[in-house]
Amino acid sequence: MSERTVYADNNATTMVAPEVRDEILPFLTELYGNPSSMHLFGGQVKTHLDLARQKVAALINADPSEILFTSCGTESDNTAIRSILTTNPNKKHIITTRVEHPAVKNLCQSLTTNGYRVTELSVDKYGQIDLDELRENINDDTALVSMMWANNETGVIFPVDEAVQIVKSKGIPFHTDAVQAVGKIKIDAKKTPFDMLAISGHKLHAPKGIGVLYVRKGTGISPFIVGGHQESGRRAGTENIPYIVGLGKACEIALNIIDKEQTQIKTLRDRLEKELLEKAVDASVNGDIKNRLPNTTNISFKYIEGESILLLLSAQGIAASSGSACTSGSLEPSHVLRAMGVPFTRVHGSIRFSLSRYNTDEDITIIVDKMLAIEKRLREISPFTED
């Protein structure tokens, strides 16, 4: 390993912000009370729980009562989808997209064995959906539309505003997995009338093990975890106070610097992308570059393989990820890139770099230098390279 890690895999997880860690620590030491207790020792913790709920709500311009703390983004997605289906028991049709995160995709797939019919909307070569296809697929039996806000692999942002309008005009509930979007782009629950929205703490510099489900006021919820009366009876289990407080802090920071994502981080991403495309032998970007998260670039290096690239990057202290089959446990290449019709020659050599506010200009220089050297090296080994 080299002496310094260049972390460019922030869509996988992020560093816990030092301010977040500092906020958490007292709750791992003296402030260990249970917010449900009747004594002041627990009561003071309840105050911090409420405060954190306000901070999370503020980030997406929601009401604090609409914020439900969960253990992770996947739990939030599962709660939302199952709850919507349970509260609309007569409808058996789900509309989602072909590029969802497994938290939604695999859940919907598993529901087909319970008599549900799932329509996965296709995407074009830029990874973008067609709203007409959404309109055409809505019918009287449609119980739910679940559509991610931004894609984890390509960073492509879906036209959620328009999609919600279409879906809500038919009176159908709308859930969005916004795990990659919250904290990176502005989301406003007052402006966009989605019914449920999932957030994951560790994607925005809070720790792993904390998530949020936004539930619009007036929307019924069938609890996923049944037990005590925590979270107004909507999610049982003693609250994970340290991480909830940490997530509150992370959301507060995100709200204050969200513009920075659009300037500082985007500038770095654009430089990284431009230099790699210009200097690499054969590289191309995957995804709709006009509607994309500011921190993500997904680049395919033709005829060289992603896992090999990652191993060599890793040996140089650089962390990134790939859509190659060999990096997944299932041996299947990225379902997102395949749905976009990216040829196999490029899917297997796809590398995602996802940045955060902790990346620097120097990081980009290092990534470009090392990546180009790795490309050259693997091309020398590849049978597709001319002798």
């Binding site: 005829y303 393989e305 060999c326 299947e332 019709g341 040829p343 196999f344 899917v347 080994i381 597709f384």
Partner: protein, 282 residues
Amino acid sequence: MWDYTDKVKDHFFNPRNVGKIKNPDGIGEEGSLACGDSLTLTFKLGEDKKIKEAKFQTFGCGSAIASASALTEIIIGKTLKEAEKITNNDIADYLGGLPDEKMHCSVMGREALEAAIANCRGEDVNELRDRHKNVVCQCFGVTDVEIVKTIKENQLKTVQDVTNYTKAGGGCKACHAKIEELITGTMGVQDESEAPKKTSSRMTNIQKIKLIEEVIEREIRPALKADGGDIDLIDLDGNKVIVALRGMCSSCPSSSYTLKEYVEAKLKEFVSEDMVVEEDKL
């Protein structure tokens, strides 16, 4: 992250015998684009009829590169008779083992060796390939012969084992029933020969892919672009060329005409008579 042995890491970071021997005595190519791995093995025999020099080129993951590198070290100094006895397990053992999910990398090595030896003996490599034509796993293009051979050599008992060793069944899972059948059948049935089917072109997959890309670039793409369209090669499965039409072409009502009458015609003219073009349905 995969749990690779130090030996695998060593062969990945410092691959031995990289390259392609000019005028080799034996050449073998294995793998496919869909799988994301591909291996070209070349060797030269010495005066003593032993393999004197061996080189490889690999498009693939860390363990694919390591397996190919190990293979070259294993076969150097061996006679063809000795070399043909090498199994994928020998390659994996040489590397101190491979993760189960990566055993198919060693299988690819064994298959390339098999092809290279056949080539060296003047046997028709395409005939060998044709014996492998009965594709069970469409996702990864794995044939029954490969699966049966791997089941035997490694005493595989479950579909998951077969997936780990050959990749077969790792995609859509539609072939799981067929793999089950092969596992049950393999214990009793010893006959693995299939009636050879019509031999197609003499080109290997890699040569074909390169040529198809050239023809698309030179003969096809400019014409489509003139109409605001484009085309991408998605994959090659035997002689079936899978392409995606882009831009104006993708919504053009006469796109199927374009595919058959133009793209396929060009590929038949410049690549091989038996090329069949299909549009990527995914």
